[in-house]
Symmetry: D2
Subunit: 137 residues, 4 copies
Amino acid sequence: MSWNSTMVTVVGHVASEISYKHGEDGKSNAFFRLHSTERRYNTAIGDWEDGETLWLGVTCWRKLADSVKTTLSQGDPVIVQGKLRMRHYEKDDSKRTAFNLDALHVGLDLSRVQSLGSAPVVEPRSGEELVAETAPF
Amino acid sequence: MSWNSTMVTVVGHVASEISYKHGEDGKSNAFFRLHSTERRYNTAIGDWEDGETLWLGVTCWRKLADSVKTTLSQGDPVIVQGKLRMRHYEKDDSKRTAFNLDALHVGLDLSRVQSLGSAPVVEPRSGEELVAETAPF
Amino acid sequence: MSWNSTMVTVVGHVASEISYKHGEDGKSNAFFRLHSTERRYNTAIGDWEDGETLWLGVTCWRKLADSVKTTLSQGDPVIVQGKLRMRHYEKDDSKRTAFNLDALHVGLDLSRVQSLGSAPVVEPRSGEELVAETAPF
Amino acid sequence: MSWNSTMVTVVGHVASEISYKHGEDGKSNAFFRLHSTERRYNTAIGDWEDGETLWLGVTCWRKLADSVKTTLSQGDPVIVQGKLRMRHYEKDDSKRTAFNLDALHVGLDLSRVQSLGSAPVVEPRSGEELVAETAPF
């Protein structure tokens, strides 16, 4: 519910433990570091190579925080959509700035999982309510 | 590996069965319909309400197709990033156009799952290689 | 002011005349067709080539509609950010669907203009109010 | 020509002078600071208010750099699409990180210009080549 927010989708890996706690207001939140490395095609050598790596902190709230804590671990491939934010803090008596994502949606990226032992159990699926709908095209 | 592609991230639900097959080239592909309904804040009544619904076909390839087939079902909440494409076809002797996503990344959206029976088993996790890395901030 | 809208940024060309009118509510709106062609690197031949073309209708409202009518013409390179929407209509007694962008932001794309006779006059610039601000990094 | 790049579209204002120079390779580049402030609807008071501000450095190359230098000034409203990158540097003997956009597309945002003295002259327009094309919908 905002205007001109900078929404970003980042594809990368969970690069830290998931920290999890309850805030003073009782709402749960989870935090992890995300790193994302691009793959570039080098036309000079005719092959792909790693490009730059981007590191971002990711903050999750409420139910998303609970699910992230339960299901994700360091190293997991993820897709994250969130609002890009600056966080100001002090370190060694000097002012610093970090860039974080306030995550709205996080998923284990199915294009990069090695194998899945079983389908995650999602209960209740909301499929029933969709049965009667007809796609309009 | 392209320029000026229209990449889109859509947050919605799987709204059909997952169809899955092997193409003539032996590569697997999966297809499902995705629907996404926005939530709008109506300032006149001071409350949220459903907005418009967007329907898109989603095509997945190779390993992503395999994982999608194994793990997703109709009704599941997903986040999909892909390239927006037009597909031309004929129906009733007239030319039609559909809009599809060529999916690059698909995840079960952890912000909207009701409950997860257990963490999906992702093997091998790539966490080991990350242990020695230090986040640069 | 909505949740789960599908926001898209498209880079392309104005591919029609700009139509402009006042709605029944007195608000101005403008409409044009946008086409966007991706450039792909073909590793087999080691060169770039045109990929697929995407066509979308673009609707602009109020002040954006006025500015678009004044400044843009068919063929101009643009960058458009808007909400992806489905529009349903009938043609030849059958139901059709078109995909449009409800544009929030439109700019003449400076990376693709051939030459600019002069800087557009933007009055008043809002620069004065920014002078006293110090970037926090 | 890369994979998994983090492409971002930011809507904001030019918040510094445009610096412009030729690199050692003879290619021109331009740099400016961009700030973007979100507008939030506060349901408690039933009105809009300013949210957080995001500051990013923006680097432009070659023709885009030339056009940006010619046409933009501090305070201008812009829409920028680019690749989000981390830049590492030292300051006061400590390591710092800044976040920049490697801009691919920059436009003066027509939704926020106050008035335009005249249409920018774009020569030659590429409209001629489009006349014969028929939109496929």
